[in-house]
Amino acid sequence: MDLTLIDKYFLIEKIGLISAVLAISLLIAMYSTWAERKVAAWIQDRRGPNRAGPFGLLQPLADGGKLFFKEEIIPSTANHFLFVLGPSMAMLTACLTSAVIPWGDVLNFGGYAVSLQIADVNIGVLWIMAVVGMGVYGIMIGGWASNNKFSLLAACRGASQVISYELPMGLALIALFMISGSLSLKDIVEQQRDGLWYVVLQPVGFLIFLICAFAECNRTPFDLPEAENELNGGYHLEYSSMKLGFYLFAEYINMFISSALMATLYFGGYSFPYMDSLGLSPNLVTILGICALFLKTFAFIFFFMWVRWTLPRFRYDQLMKLGWKVLIPLALLNMLITGAVILYRQNGF
């Protein structure tokens, strides 16, 4: 690698893109909290936040400000370093997954093409899996460092839940890769742009992935690590101020990224039907594509919330049973059937 190869335009482009993605992630995370309360209220026939600003739109800012200025408490028996490391880690990993997601096609600025993807690496999905895998450290470290029995128990639950659901998730993805033949998210989107959305080809795979995404984000019905009525708030029981904020934000960012990922993998990402046959200028198509992606993403976010306020929480044993004894065999079967069908169509017997 020769660093002199990097020219300043490239640097500016990437820095701009990164800032935008991070800012949007945070923004969406903030307003997800607001949306969540609104959705909850709507489902439960209430009003939800409505004091700060119109429709309570400034509520997230108020919450954020409050978290910033709260007193920072570190229990005397806790391990200080790890106590700080835990939420930092959670936030860090949440911020890193977005790097490989293609937010849109190429934008042209007078001959300079800007790809709306921070890094198109050929193992994009592996990067996401790796970073999500790191995410569990945030929970585990935070729970352990607190030196609180509730936290520790919650951390153990959270860790085992996350890692358990990583297996069927990976297996479901493999069936997808058999179709795509590539691990690059960009490639996957481009293939869907020309052909069918993969949700049509991989309905079971999508279902598995969806369930796993719920579990990976610790969302209800799989929110055992923070089951407040059993564990007093779970792994972030001892946290306050922005450290608590990080855990909460991380969760919402994860939800956002998962939604975007599902949209990318199974629902065509930034592509939308007839996008190439409308005869619009490429830049306009790209912008429409971005909107399409965000539309799909918001739909998933709404789905997340809808489920949360509809379904009750699983019991620990039910959760593990679902993950290990149902999803894993199902995902393997899905993989084998996918493989057989593809090979049959390609080679015959």
Partner: protein, 130 residues
């Protein structure tokens, strides 16, 4: 001047450079926020406040006791199965070239996988009910 795109499509260590940038950005964000909140909040520490919260009752012993073996077992099984899943990735990318022969090999692999899976179920490693 568009060689950058070229570099990005070719798979070199250079493709990961933006990720490094993002890592730096994220680290900066997290670090700055952490430090800022540290100075922003009030500091009125008392002994009671710094104790662990156990629903208001007297604290009993250290929290870092060995936890149930089930969690440990889950972790171990995850490591094993995840590594087996790793083998599927290169296969998934190449399986069209490998054809039916490769598929048979993969079926054998899955059979072993399921064998192990079935074994741990029968051994009770996945029983969380009790």
């Amino acid at each position: 001047m568009f060689f950058t795109a070229e570099i990005l499509t070719a798979n070199t260590p250079f493709s990961y450079f933006p990720i490094v940038l993002q890592l730096i950005a994220a680290l900066g964000f997290v670090g700055v926020t952490m430090i800022a909140t540290h100075f922003l909040g009030p500091k009125r520490k008392t002994k009671d406040k710094l104790e662990n919260f156990e629903s208001g009752i007297e604290q009993m012993g250290n929290a870092r006791q060995p936890v149930a073996i089930k969690y440990f077992l889950t972790a171990i099984l995850f490591v094993l199965f995840d590594v087996e899943v790793i083998f599927f990735y290169p296969y998934a990318v190449n399986f069209k070239e490998l054809g039916w022969e490769g598929f048979l090999a993969m079926i054998a692999f899955v059979a072993f996988f399921m064998g192990g899976f079935f074994y741990i179920i029968k051994k009770g490693a996945l029983r969380w009910e009790d």
